[in-house]
């Protein structure tokens, strides 16, 4: 049960954070795309949307990697105690 709670807590936190980060950014980006005329700028702005997802994925991946590794270290230290 506790495991489930923890996972649920993480998923909810992730969704909240993604929403907080993504919505304003996407709205801002979509507003910017419309008035542009030059095709390269338009394409470049579309790339940014994908880039934003990549940025978020890498940051969360990095933090999760550190968090999990740190948790394992703490557990092994507790056991040694």
């Amino acid at each position: 049960m506790r495991l489930l709670e923890n996972r649920l807590y993480r998923v909810i936190s992730l969704i909240v954070l993604l929403t907080v980060l993504l919505i304003p950014s996407i709205v801002w980006a979509s507003e910017k795309i419309e008035p542009l005329v030059e095709p390269q700028i338009e394409q470049a702005n579309i790339i940014l949307i994908y880039g934003l997802f990549l940025i978020i994925a890498v940051i969360f991946g990095g933090l999760l990697w550190a968090y999990k590794a740190n948790r394992d270290v703490m557990k092994s230290l507790e056991q040694k105690k």
Partner: protein, 512 residues
Amino acid sequence: MSKAIGALIIPLIYMVVVLVLGHGKWTKSLRLNIDDFYKVSAGAAFPLVFLGLAGGYHSSFAIPGSMGFVYSHGIGWIANGLWTLFVAGGVMMWLAPRINYLARKNNYLTPGDLVAEYFDNSDGVRIATAIATISFSVGYMFTNVIGPAILISTLTNNLVTYDVACFVIILVVASYVWRAGIRGTMWTTVLQACWMFVVVYVAAAYCTTLVGGIKPMMAAMKEHYIEYLTIPGPKGFLTNVTWFSWAAIAIGLGGALKPVTWSFFYSARKPKEAMKIGYTIPFYLAGIYIPVVFIGFAALLIVPGLTGVSADNSFPKLLYDYAPAWFGGLIIAGAMGAGMSTLDAETNISSCIFISDIYKRYIAPGKDERHYLIAGRWSIVVLAIITYIFTHYRFSIVAIIATLVNAIVALYAPTVILILSKGKLLKSIKITAAGYICGMITGGALLIYLNFISKVSNPLGWHYSAWVLATNVIVMLLVSQFTKGPSVESKQKFEKSIDELYIKSEPEEVSL
């Protein structure tokens, strides 16, 4: 105005996340003692040490200074980067496990602890090392505020002034270093290291798309700017002075053994993990330099003709003219990541050196742990104020200051290498405390002379850091021939520890 406000949204979110990470319960700041405040005594997980050091390694010069460098001098930046990073990685692989093993065994906190112990706990050696290392760190601190602060004021069209940006950056960093020390630094730097790495790639994809893709961009470069595609670059800047004697000696050696890397070597759980830093970190760091070239070239094609400080700011200008405001905000946050991750680690180690090497031993010895912890935190406040004052001088050439402080490492690196060496040839070289101090003084005097007095900073085509290193080594070896060396017990203690490290098959037990 709306574009300026738009550019501020993401940096503000970023600041909040950094504050949460730096103050969170995972930093375990309430159970701290002085040792645990400045290093993770029990040993930190590898991702924390790796990303903590990786993020802190690149100064604010990485974003946007390196793009400006490519804009001005071309692809030779890669040659420079290879020397800078892979020399550093090689030195780390060689020395980091030894530093880690000795530190965990003897409970060192600062570089001075290790060097002084070899010379029978010589006060002169400890103070000389403390002065050199603290000069390095303080010099490096304010350079890492200037870059992001300029970027913020440029991309927000001065809605947030340079002064305000400097103040906020320093305040945020000082707050979490003050509370959680090295743990706050490590956790925030995980975020910062990831952020700046990926944001540079996205920026490169964006910039190359603006000019029609990589292939058309390179074709245009070949047609209009062919001299940017080879060494020494359009201005003849990338000669031996820069890409070998500057990059390899000043930045490479300096980067590997600068004071802040010691605190991460000390915090690694075991020698093998410290060694792993050496062979992984150059790839992370070089990984940032590759997209930088594409950004620099795209900026050159889109906004040509910029010189001096404008050339350094070519990437922010490109963003301001073409990119949506929120993406400018992402880049600001990336630049803040590059600067803040270095600033926090340097603040932490500067405070550590002052408290452990000077305050605890010579100003207020014999006090309890709590006293030193409070003094350490107050020293962080003082360092933050000093940093803020220095940012008002607005040194325009951040890279020169970064090189100058990196050259300081050449004052103690040769001795560290000899102390930690295992080979018979290096072990047979006699070094003494007097030789070490005289080498440092002479090298330091030459560093000041070449930078501030002499009209020729780089004699005979070699960077001043190479001259400083050579002078230091020659004087150290000469003086050592005529002075008394460390005791046999001390030498044997180090030799035995290093031998143990390579004989042991099991990793060192983690001490709590």
